[in-house]
Symmetry: C2
């Protein structure tokens, strides 16, 4: 058995049976070994950022890591932005990065680069496999490192000859370390805070935004008067009718500050203390009020849901959570504004959908108008590196083939990883992509004024618009095998979305918004 | 004057007046400052790999660096693969990477990452600007570092508040260190080698593949019997009628070994000693014969052309170089094979063209059939990280607006940076892109067998083909504003190429090759 075969069999044995791949010469034995191990599903992407973003979306939905297969340092580099997002979301993910054969390293061949250094910038675990005898154990360690709480990126560098040489054997899985329990004293301390009657916010993030977590938090809200809030961009949030209403901390700093104003106690549950995405001149770096005390109920890596349940038993034993009733907005008519788009989505969101939200500025009203929709999952851009939406939807659809995936995708951001559409078509994934086509990097137009830069001239403006020529997303999608339509009114969007949801396979709707 | 204004004025004063940009919030003051400094041309790209590849192509043709503007670690990550190519080609290039404001760094905001570590993997010079008072001097140092022989990547990390705070002033340019002269004793030693009568190859690379360098090398060949060869993928090679014929060292290892067989002396001129791109089981890592002695006439960073001229005066003072006569292949008819494509290009290549070659396996016959064409420049993929072709053509066209640019582009490779086409259209660049559309990663199909991997099953094969669905490059190009046509025969390609070359602005031709 060669190294590649042992590696793949070990991955499969450890529960990693999907590999999002963009291979090169040094990975050819890995590719060949896919024929020997049919349990491993190889999914080809045309760009590494699609592979890494897909692995991120996959793990968020499957609850276990996927592998990526990347070609040397440049391939890892192409995957880096979405690995950044995965790192920020504490996603479990196993990168396999091919490298030159050991004998070739000292020759400084054209593709030589410092893979280990690049990997180190995003990984919580990096190892270079040094022999076929080691590679399977290395792979087992990689999976355990990735999947142990709170989840991290594990990168295994795989020299070509370690792949191709014989003498390897499959390794047993290494136990995955589950989330640790929060100490009872911490829970009692937070219970005391909640009983103070002072304005308190339970701030949920990480892996606590689940049905169980939300219902426990809702019980606490009902029993103690605490408000519920989540991170601005939780990796995965369960939402919809039957669950308590939870505010998302707004992205714009002035709105985030307003949302937390008057809070005396901020209790972190699986989340870190909120900070603004960016610094702005003359503004504090975070929205937490000066006299607010921050408490940590559960750190990332601790079992935040168990902590919430235990806390609810102490602090609000008899309370019942208030939950949202089923409700949908009416289907709007006329102009297709971002809010109308949100209403169409809220009106038609199918049961058990997975929403991948990279709408950015076009997402106005989206969470509000979908809050009473049937139960669904919502995946957000955890690390702020745009271009994760299309790939995440790909990964989510591979993880959950029986659930409809809806990607709500800003136009500028879509272009970073647009080739994801081709893999949607090849794998015939049930993904409906709605492009928020406003013809600009609208978020940067907002940010330009927010940071106090003038930028009122033509030359600056030209770097913020996507016009001259406009992007034709219908042509781009059909060019990659995804059926596509264009919606210019709310009615057209509703018709097209209904039809796309009714048919299996991928669809793209170019929603033409004001500005375009 | 704020830091951004001083930075841009300093760059312009140092001769850097083009910036390929994909900005984000932390770069908004840089963007706004473009309105204040009209001498700096900002060129928007939709993906950072396009920006970095364009800066690579620009510098190869302009002979001076362009700047890039990238957004934090993820933006730099997206640009990393083409920075790898630029590094391998010793391209002078100045990255400006925006970062969080200094006050924001310790907050570990979602976009926080180790920019310096990422930058270090590709840069020969990295600095973080620590105050508005320093930023201009930092920029001047960056340009000098980038442009000093032999050329390198200089990365300046620019915190947002260093951009936006006042108190900055323009800095004078820092002298660029020119290539050093080779010691006379080295030239005399190589002259002795050449006079030995033993089989000798002059191996040219780096910045020596110019008209002056080739003519001096040709004189040496005529006078001493030495053979002339270049690196497999020189950054920029001048070619065509009136210049000596020079063999390119072939890419396939067995052909490279054959090309150097029997060589007793290999004389490096601006190149490093050749190695195979990859290791292959049971094959040596490089093509240099065992009993061949390697001599260094000029290292990268030394003036190799001056060394060739001095050597020619000593070793072949009276010889006249043999040069290629003007010749073109006949226009082929019928099936559109790679060789027919090469013949069409050779027959129609305009005077003074810039060819950007990322044809990979479809490039069979390309150099042969263009060798007698009118004088032209040829840019190659220096670092082996595919996806550099479309961006390099963009940069070359910005550098040389009066010269036609022809990109010969493999289909799989095109998809990494396909959004470059949009910038072609926006900037109305005179670029004709020929897609070598064989519907597969053909190079990997070759490599799979070359490394001795079986890979004869469906599951491996699926990772090497681009079918199911096929990519429609005509739709992709028109979707980004580039007029496009499809050629299925040699005659169609000739007609379409002639027409594309006759019209200004960008055009794309999808050349449908066997396999598709």
């Amino acid at each position: 058995m060669n190294g590649a075969q042992a590696l793949i069999r070990t991955l499969v044995g450890a529960g990693v049976d999907v590999c999002f791949a963009n291979p090169g010469t040094s990975e050819m034995h890995f590719v060949a070994a896919l024929d020997d191990v049919p349990e491993m599903r190889g999914v080809l992407t045309l760009f590494e950022g699609v592979a890494t973003g897909a692995a991120d979306g996959y793990a968020r939905m499957a609850g276990r890591p996927a592998a990526t297969l990347l070609h040397l340092g440049p391939g890892l580099g192409n995957g880096l932005a979405n690995l950044h997002n995965a790192r920020r979301g504490r996603t479990a993910l196993v990168n396999v990065v091919g490298d030159h054969a050991r004998s070739h390293k000292r020759l400084d061949a054209p593709l030589e680069s410092d893979i280990d250094a690049i990997a180190g910038t995003v990984s919580g675990w990096v190892r270079r496999s040094l022999s076929p005898a080691d590679v399977a154990a290395d792979a087992a360690d990689a999976v355990a490192a990735a999947a142990s709480a709170p989840g991290r990126i594990a990168t295994l560098v795989l020299p070509a000859d370690v792949s191709w040489e014989d003498g390897a054997a499959v390794a047993d899985p290494v136990p995955v370390r589950p989330a640790s329990r929060v100490a009872p004293s911490v829970i009692r301390d937070v219970a005391t805070v909640l009983s103070s009657g002072q304005p308190t916010v339970l701030f949920l993030g990480g892996d606590t935004v689940t049905a169980a977590g939300l219902l426990a938090a809702g019980q606490l809200a009902a029993g103690t008067g605490a408000r519920l809030m989540t991170e601005t961009f939780p990796a995965r949030a369960v939402r919809g009718a039957g669950l308590p209403e939870v505010t998302r901390l707004p992205y714009p700093p002035e709105m985030a500050i307003a949302a937390l104003e008057g809070t005396a106690h901020l209790v972190l549950v699986g989340a870190t203390s909120p900070v603004h995405f960016f610094a702005y001149p003359g503004m504090p770096g975070h929205p937490v009020p000066k006299d607010c005390t921050v408490h940590v109920l559960a750190e990332p890596g601790e079992d935040g849901v168990a902590a919430l349940l235990a806390l609810a038993e102490i602090a609000a034993p008899d309370a019942e959570p208030e939950v949202l009733e089923a409700s949908r907005p009416e289907l709007p008519v006329g102009e297709l504004t971002p809010r109308a788009m949100a209403a169409v989505i809220g009106a038609l969101l199918p049961e058990n959908a997975i929403v991948v939200d990279e709408a950015l500025t076009s997402g106005v009203g989206l969470t509000e108008l979908t809050s009473g929709a049937p139960r669904h999952d919502w995946l957000s851009l955890t690390g702020g590196a745009i271009g994760d939406g299309l790939p995440m939807a790909l990964g989510a659809a591979v993880a959950c083939p029986d659930r409809p995936v809806i990607g709500i995708q800003a136009d500028g951001s879509a272009m970073y990883t647009i080739s994801a559409l081709w893999t949607y078509a090849r794998e015939q994934l049930d993904i409906t992509t709605i492009i928020c086509d406003n013809g600009s990097y609208a978020i940067l137009e907002h940010e330009l004024s927010r940071v106090g830069a003038r930028g009122d001239g033509d030359r600056a403006a030209k770097l913020l618009t996507l016009g001259g020529p406009g992007l034709d997303f219908v042509a781009l999608a059909t060019g990659m095998g995804v059926p596509a339509t264009r919606a210019r009114t709310a009615e057209e969007l509703a018709d097209q979305l209904r039809q796309a949801l009714a048919e299996p396979g991928p669809h793209l709707i170019d929603a033409v918004l004001p500005g375009r």
